[in-house]
Symmetry: C5
Subunit: 353 residues, 5 copies
Amino acid sequence: MKLYNKHSKKAGLPPGTLVHVGEKHVEQVRIALMDYDEKNVNEKTNVTVEECLPFKSLPTVTWINVSGIHDIRVIEGFGKAFNIHPLVQENIVHAGQRPKMEDMEDYLYIVLKLITPGKNEEVFEMEQVSLIIGANYVISFQEKEGDVFHSIRERIKSGKGRIRKSGSDYLAYTLVDSVVDNYFVVLEGMGEKIEDLQEEVLGNPDPSNLNVIQNTKRQMILLRKSVWPLREAISGLRRSESPLIGDAVGPYLGDIYDHTIQVIETIEMLRDTASSVLDIYLSSLSNKMNEVMKVLTIMASIFIPLTFIAGVYGMNFKFMPELEWKWGYPVVWIVIITVSVLMIIGFRRRKWL
Amino acid sequence: MKLYNKHSKKAGLPPGTLVHVGEKHVEQVRIALMDYDEKNVNEKTNVTVEECLPFKSLPTVTWINVSGIHDIRVIEGFGKAFNIHPLVQENIVHAGQRPKMEDMEDYLYIVLKLITPGKNEEVFEMEQVSLIIGANYVISFQEKEGDVFHSIRERIKSGKGRIRKSGSDYLAYTLVDSVVDNYFVVLEGMGEKIEDLQEEVLGNPDPSNLNVIQNTKRQMILLRKSVWPLREAISGLRRSESPLIGDAVGPYLGDIYDHTIQVIETIEMLRDTASSVLDIYLSSLSNKMNEVMKVLTIMASIFIPLTFIAGVYGMNFKFMPELEWKWGYPVVWIVIITVSVLMIIGFRRRKWL
Amino acid sequence: MKLYNKHSKKAGLPPGTLVHVGEKHVEQVRIALMDYDEKNVNEKTNVTVEECLPFKSLPTVTWINVSGIHDIRVIEGFGKAFNIHPLVQENIVHAGQRPKMEDMEDYLYIVLKLITPGKNEEVFEMEQVSLIIGANYVISFQEKEGDVFHSIRERIKSGKGRIRKSGSDYLAYTLVDSVVDNYFVVLEGMGEKIEDLQEEVLGNPDPSNLNVIQNTKRQMILLRKSVWPLREAISGLRRSESPLIGDAVGPYLGDIYDHTIQVIETIEMLRDTASSVLDIYLSSLSNKMNEVMKVLTIMASIFIPLTFIAGVYGMNFKFMPELEWKWGYPVVWIVIITVSVLMIIGFRRRKWL
Amino acid sequence: MKLYNKHSKKAGLPPGTLVHVGEKHVEQVRIALMDYDEKNVNEKTNVTVEECLPFKSLPTVTWINVSGIHDIRVIEGFGKAFNIHPLVQENIVHAGQRPKMEDMEDYLYIVLKLITPGKNEEVFEMEQVSLIIGANYVISFQEKEGDVFHSIRERIKSGKGRIRKSGSDYLAYTLVDSVVDNYFVVLEGMGEKIEDLQEEVLGNPDPSNLNVIQNTKRQMILLRKSVWPLREAISGLRRSESPLIGDAVGPYLGDIYDHTIQVIETIEMLRDTASSVLDIYLSSLSNKMNEVMKVLTIMASIFIPLTFIAGVYGMNFKFMPELEWKWGYPVVWIVIITVSVLMIIGFRRRKWL
Amino acid sequence: MKLYNKHSKKAGLPPGTLVHVGEKHVEQVRIALMDYDEKNVNEKTNVTVEECLPFKSLPTVTWINVSGIHDIRVIEGFGKAFNIHPLVQENIVHAGQRPKMEDMEDYLYIVLKLITPGKNEEVFEMEQVSLIIGANYVISFQEKEGDVFHSIRERIKSGKGRIRKSGSDYLAYTLVDSVVDNYFVVLEGMGEKIEDLQEEVLGNPDPSNLNVIQNTKRQMILLRKSVWPLREAISGLRRSESPLIGDAVGPYLGDIYDHTIQVIETIEMLRDTASSVLDIYLSSLSNKMNEVMKVLTIMASIFIPLTFIAGVYGMNFKFMPELEWKWGYPVVWIVIITVSVLMIIGFRRRKWL
């Protein structure tokens, strides 16, 4: 997971130039359309930009979902059809945006980062979702085809809840809400991972742990980078005086706002935990070193003096009366055993054994 | 103690769906009702939602306490009877809310976290308390049956203090006040624990201490997470222009506000202390290592040279004049003793002994 | 020195109940009264609440100083006589307040923490001082009898300076000023202590230093906790539009405000210094360890090879030509001396010796 | 790369004195001029100040680019011709300015720091760019001749994009935009470098790494120092009510503003990463030490006891029955082997081997 | 360099009492006077307060410079003559003020800290400079006679620049500007010192470095303490609506404001650098320890096994067949050499050699 997007790719190009930045996640851009009011639902998949156009003027709510942002022509098509500002188009195709909300009068433009649990070793995958919220339509741009919005589609079809009775603002709210909910899924997964790591590090610190810790910290930074501005964006939506956002949606936006704050708090807590795992790791290292040193000191302290005693009676002086004594050898053994026992008692007292 | 609630359980569900999130602490939801004015008190336990309804229109103050939030039908019953917004109902049954105050015009909605000393190894237990403050009624929702509000019940019955002469706003104040007071109880317990730990760590650092330190830090983070927004909520109540909060309650709210600030300061101080205990732990480790090393160095430095001397006269050269000397052996002993005494004096000078 | 006051003592009691919290520092509450204008001074000691009452309506400035706050009846007496709000009375007897200023219209209520140099091992003692500032009277409540306000009493009697020509607001200012001045006295004492500690730690780090460092840090936290809100309180007094504070006192309040900021800066600086003493302590430990290790390494590196050489010629092989040589033994000594000299030169080069 | 510019050079001089501060990067100041409207482009290189003057009053957009700021006379010439305030002139020639935007009514003055990838070991080079934005002209001052603005020149000549249709405000925007884009180029290079370093440090910590880490941190500080005020400057431009900045440029300025925030976030992230590389470095050191200690402990613990055993049977006591036994020697070997095997098993259990 | 001034000296004194706090730097207070307009300059040295008085009412600009603040009577003389508030007088003689600007209507009062490079081991000296800015006069109070304002005096005499054409506000500006410029001189000196230290610490960490690092940090704290409020003071001057500060001085004040921000940034950077030098110091210690340990481990690991081998053949068993072999001794040598070579290869592989 890269810490930054390749902005440098654009250095030197005139502003407003559409350049896809990011990985290409799908081969073919797919456009799905859903048009509904309280009574009817009309769903179409694999439509073209031109097929979307007539729905714009209908009084019903129209949701156009575009999977894949690498095809510049498609985005330009929508840009023309829905009268989207060139800079907004540029932002849609450039996957390195910060989450934000911009009131363009005719429509609101929201950029979000959708977080989904990663597939292989990646902890999570991040995808840019752009929303264009018009008077009676919402266009959502995703980097790849995903089933994140699937349950919303089902809810519309089944007509459960308020969604079919509400306008495009409520639809936009449910889309943002489902994006925010996904943060909780990923964060809970990471929380469990970090707690496991903490256990492991306490018992058996290993240099590889260090890498995992730093990785987690970095991912937290990445997540934080995408949630902090999200909070501002939602707060902007709430306070916005745009006629596109009705009063009834207010409390719901307040609810997502609370959720983003909880996401932020959880991220901060996980960062803190990752830091404390690092502390545990380092002090576990010290502990281990202490233990190694104790073993060395005990072995050396017991045997070096004994070796000295043996060395003394290995000397070849002619006149060494002890060597002649009958009980010399057993006495030396007694001395040796006494010294070692005293040593061991001493170490026991210092709680080294 | 989990660092977060299972928000992910709700991912994909339409907003406004009542889903109980949290552990189920009681089998049966119990509703207790207390209706009073300056002259009379009427107490009922184990009532149903329907039995509560008539009290709503009485001019007396009615306090309905609901223990247990897992029974969706009960909450929905209250929601219907007291005209509570679906999102508020959702918040009541979802135990993972941040403390907050919301002015819903007809009533105020307050979420709090009640902290009680934990039973087994847990340092504290956290429980969500929701308050609905109406014109002449207060409904309190607790996760479990507890005796936290018991003394308030007694005070109402005995008619001591201002409570019987005041309205529902004063009742709400006393409920919040008793929640805040419980923070002090828990924090004082933790403060003593940390101070004991500091003593222990200084004398005898042990890897298990590390776990306790990190645990304490984490609990402080959890507490902080629940008190910071509480402060905002109380500050919101104070500045609120809702007619539901009378002027006479103002100074009392100012008093709780001061208390929450003191709680926050205490938490920060305990976090700081936990951090400094970690510092002490780490430097105690270093100290111990130093001591181990000194023992090793002293033993090795004294005996290795002596062993060398003994080794020299253990050599089997034919022509080693010293070996023939009569006083060779005693002289070697004198050398050995001199060397060791000099060594010991040297170590004394360096204050290693 | 405890990090917090026993708030838990009050959990469950109705608000507005007067409960003395804190240690009881004096046996008998003593009330001293001073009544003055530009011409006359009237001083009385050991008066009762009733004796104070008539002075309230005189146009002269009356200063009532109450030493001891544990006698609930005395405080209640003043409360009744001077019409003090029950919550203010509760704050006066509860020694765990944060410094604050409250405008109660008829009077201003100020809580301060008086810091005096400690007697035994305590670095300082903290005492709560409450001031009730009325139109022409000031009541000061102290926890114990002290001579902090003695010099003010002398100044009033002697008629030096502006005090006799000014009203109760100027009297209140001088009281607060003398409280703030005491912070400097205590902080300078601590500053010298920390600098001594730094010297000591650099030369000879000892685990007991650690305790002193942590203690200092904790005391700084305690002081900071009492000065930060003091600054706000004084700033509140300055900006206050209460008619009780005349314009002429404005610059004087500005002066104390500056002093509180200097107190805060000094506290932060001492905290910083305490932290850096900890850094020095830890690196001194590392330095000592390095030295210990060097001694061990030098001793071992020199004598272990020599012992090996001696060991070789201690072997009992039948055919060891060197043993027969006449110059074998001296040659071995030459080798031994050469090896040690080379070693010593090597260690010198690495600057270990 | 110096952390500061030589401000001291100016101490004692009267303000408004033009003194070139900074290195002299080019020998000869070169002035290039470009004059264009939607239809025509007129480009001149190596012009003099006098030659620029007539273009000031033309309705077309004029861009004057000055490479080299060390020639005081040239700057004074422009100052006179374009009526530039002496302090602004002083800022232009003094390369130690903080980025800022100043509204001088007749013109806007912007100072920027242009970052370009460094040539040799330097990670980047920093150059001060000053812009004077008038009604229909922009004067840009660079410290050295560079090709940073080359692509803009090409865009003007080719007439692509909006630039030829827009005024001097849009030209100024593109200049600032290209400066900001260069930050991304440099930061991406540094990001890759730090990630390589992290790998290296984990495997094989080396004191030289330390230097690189500290260097990176310092460069981040330098960059941050130049970007934070840039953000403020651009924000100032956006909110500016100067008639020199048209409404149409607003969204474009918003876009650069977003970019500066992304630059800041990337810098913070890289600082964080550099810090964590330091953590990894330190714990890698500890790890290595642990390993060294283990080797020593294993070697010493196995062979010191064995040497003792050998020493015992090297003693010369007359009565040592074992020495006479036929199987004495083999038994000793068996003991030696058994002891070593037990030791090795013990170390294996502790996971030291 | 003390971290604080002796405020305690004043505890207990009535406010407004003039007490000189600080060291006495000059024996004799010297007053120099300069009176000028565009045409004439009148300079007088060693004047008395009385001699200054007539200049007050002249329309020309009068600059009175007072060197030495310990003589209370002189300050009181000026206080009376120029109608200076008693608290301002108190501040002038008390050298422990925080920099500030106060609008006293008739005059502005500015306190600054003048930093000059220290003479002996002190890195810098700090001196309090007070300015009284009246309608057509400026009085500057310095703690000691210095040549800091010398160049301004020269500039006035020579009539260069704007100074002779401008009023007392511009004179005050040049005084403040020269004080701020001196910060750069001191900071550049410290910057070079820290960079040298970093080099030294990397190569050869020494406990004395630690002291230098902590000293530098402390000096940075002291400087920061004097610059932060300076920034506020200058910002206050800029925004001040006092008629004493003319519009023409505005951009010049903006310029000093920028300089104070640069001073602050440089201080923060130097603090950061000092911290990173501490990091380098600590890790250099670890590195050295690692090296010491490696030497020990290599020596011990090679020679301890060899000594064991020699010990084995030093045993005195009767039946040790190897001892009888003719090639026993050479074979042992071969074994010894092989073992050492293998060891050395092993250590090479681990990159310890």
